[in-house]
């Protein structure tokens, strides 16, 4: 067995430019946290950070799926709508049809994965821009939500309420079960990307699809797989959101695809594909969460400032990407 030495040797690689965005995000995060602690006494409570995880667990899962897609050089705009669809389908089946929770769960996950699979097939076999295919997927999923219902449906299923209300405690602090699920997703994604052929092929396609094809890598399978993964992660994110909100609503997660993309990019993944890490995405989500927390602590600024700060950060990180990637010609 070699895992530990492997991990170490991979982490101990020479400092290269591909890690630069990751360090930048880490530094930014430390800076934000430091300034929070310096300004507000209550900020130093570890629960503040844990709350960021609790409030953004679903976004984290969705962003992990998005990381796979962006690593191949693609994009998935449908994730927010798939999240909403998942909450809507879950709520209807649980509340109005009276289905048991353990039938609903696999079903909604399957719906998400199937949607992703379908979009992946269209993108690959018909050679259509991912942007437009997933845009169509977004309208489709959001439209389906409204055909199910236009009003919010409250969920009072016992399993759902238990997931929403139970706390995993350690010492004085706690997290929700959703955070554990999200972290498991992160760990699995890290493993898949670093140690399996699927993961390495994902990077290869993002690096140079033509070369990847000539090297005999399974382009079709990999490309469809990443959209399926993204669809699955969106559905799982939807489930986590419905745990968090205890409701299904067609208006849930409007614009979440953009938050997910922002988190991935701030986490240092290149939009052109081929370079980036899931851990970066985790940092990206934390940055978004901390901005929100800081603005809440401040209390004077309206919550819309969150968007402004995210916008500014995105600009900064895209510029950073531009500077570190060698320009063609």
């Amino acid at each position: 067995m070699t895992t530990f030495a492997d991990v170490r040797s991979r982490l101990a690689r020479p400092q290269q430019r591909r890690y630069l965005p990751l360090y930048a995000t880490l530094a930014l995060l430390a800076l934000m946290y430091g300034s929070g602690v310096a300004q507000y006494e209550a900020f130093s409570d570890p629960q503040v950070v844990l709350n960021v995880f609790i409030d953004n667990g679903f976004l984290l899962v969705v962003a992990v799926g998005m990381t796979f897609v962006i690593l191949t050089g693609g994009i998935d705009l449908s994730v927010g709508a798939v999240v909403a669809l998942t909450t809507m389908v879950s709520a209807t089946l649980l509340q109005e049809q009276g289905w048991p929770a353990f039938t609903v769960l696999p079903l909604v996950l399957l719906i998400g994965a199937t949607l992703g699979f379908g979009m992946g097939c269209i993108i690959h076999y018909f050679e259509i821009q991912p942007f437009i295919v997933t845009l169509a997927g977004m309208f489709l999923a959001r439209g389906l939500c409204y055909t199910i219902g236009t009003s919010s449906i409250t969920i009072d299923d016992p399993f759902w309420t238990r997931m929403a209300q139970s706390k995993v405690r350690f010492g004085d602090n706690f997290i929700s079960p959703s955070v554990i699920i999200a972290l498991v997703v992160v760990l699995v994604a890290v493993y898949v990307l670093a140690f399996t052929r699927l993961g390495r092929n994902t990077y290869a396609i993002g690096g140079n699809p033509r070369s990847a094809h000539l090297m005999g890598l399974p382009i079709a399978r990999t490309r469809i797989a990443v959209y399926t993964i993204s669809g699955f992660c969106s559905a799982l994110g939807g489930v986590l959101l419905s745990f968090y909100m205890l409701s299904g609503n067609s208006l849930h997660a409007v614009g979440m695809e953009l938050d997910a993309i922002a988190a991935v990019v701030i986490g240092g993944t290149l939009l052109t594909g081929g370079s980036g890490f899931v851990l970066g995405t985790v940092l990206g989500v934390l940055v978004l969460g901390l901005i929100q927390t800081l603005i809440t602590f401040d209390g004077r600024l309206s919550s819309w400032w969150t968007k402004i700060v995210i916008g500014a950060l995105l600009f900064a990180f895209i510029l950073l990407q531009r500077l570190i990637t060698p320009r063609k010609r």
């Binding site: 070699t2 030495a5 492997d6 690689r13 140690f195 052929r197 290869a204 690096g207 140079n208 081929g274």
Partner: protein
Amino acid sequence: MTEAILTMTGISKEFPGVKALSEVDFRLLPGEVHALMGENGAGKSTLIKVLTGVYDIDQGDIVLDGEPVRFSGPLQAQHAGVSTVYQEINLCPNLSVAENIFIGREPRFLGHIRWSTVERRARELLRRLQLDIDVSATLGTYSLAVQQMVAIARAIDISAKVLILDEPTSSLDASEVQQLFRVIRQLKEEGIAILFVTHFLDQVYEIADRITVLRNGRLVGEHRTSELTLIDLIGKMIGKELEVLERLEDRPKRLAEDAVPLVDARELGRKGAVAPFSLTIHKGEVVGLAGLLGSGRTEVARLIYGADKADHGQLTVAGRAVTMRGPRTAMANDIAFCSENRRTEGLIEELTVRENIVLAMQATRGWTRPIPRRRQDELVDKYVKALDIRPPNPDALVRNLSGGNQQKVLLARWLITEPRLLILDEPTRGIDIGAKAEIQRLVAQLSDGGMAVLFVSAELEEVLRLSHKVAVLRDRQLIAELPNDDSLDVDRVMETIASGAKP
């Protein structure tokens, strides 16, 4: 004599309208470097593509290691032991060196990639190629030469019988080429058969044991490098076909007398395209550019026209220094350029003869001042007659014209702008002999009328027949400028190319 590892016999391949290969024989011995030579369109790349299964074969047999084979694609060929490394490096620059060698074939344990094994094996493999680099570093951080060798390492690790190197040295500098050659020699020692395609003659003589020459899809011959002189090789590549061409009356091969040249390029150059050169072109003078394919002929023409930006030197037009910023500057200085690829870079096939002809003139006037229809008709009629474009119908779609007539349309387009310098890049390629003679006569007429012409052609005889002065290029350097007096003939130009008299 050792048994050949690869034998191709009677290979024919036809594309619609073109016989790309006819009855070509080729063999490759283990432990030899075999150079495949030929001008553009000779069939080199078709032969490689037929061998690696990119194209089907119409006729002929391939025997690899005693077994008859026919590959359906490069992957299958690779598994059978025939790997190709192309000029463009087909690797992923964002992955590590080790990963690029092993991706898709990583040693795994229950689906878990064993990175330590991957890196250890990559290191061993590269050490075999005498390359000691950090295999965990990203490929993109290394030079092209190293990347090329990583590609070779990947190729020989997959299979190690036949290695095809298609123009591997085009983007390498001299020391990188030496590094690559060391690796090639090493592989040769190990008994791998190497097929080496290049247009650099020096390199062939440095590394190849045997040379096969193709011309126009036919086998010209297979020779030991030691038994074939450079000049013979060039002769075989170009061929001395005695074409039945209409004789041009012996024109006075005068050298221009104007003190100020129309175009004066001083130390003009562009990194990676052509080394700095100096060239003057006078009014009424035809300057020919001679050299083999890839010697930098087109690059010189493109630099003077400004289609590529020069990063060195100075261009003077009629005594005035000009910074070429692209075709518009060139047109403003009355320089016209008929490109080599008339289909992709010149003519717009969906438009009519008339529209194609007036295009450049309209562009110089600006789109706000359309040329009146009557003026258009006048001009088009004049040039359709003058150049004898057939059919003489200005409303015919250019797509439906023959190659020669398309070329004339392109010429007409530039002629109505009345340029002072006309650059013709391979104007007679792929057109029939009659049209060829007409275009040659036209060039002579134009120069008599005072127009300067820069004439680029792969056919030395044609260059000599038309030019007052011949500039000889080799390996992207202008090596000589020969006045076209009576003593100059094809042999002397070939000698100049062969001897590579560097300035």
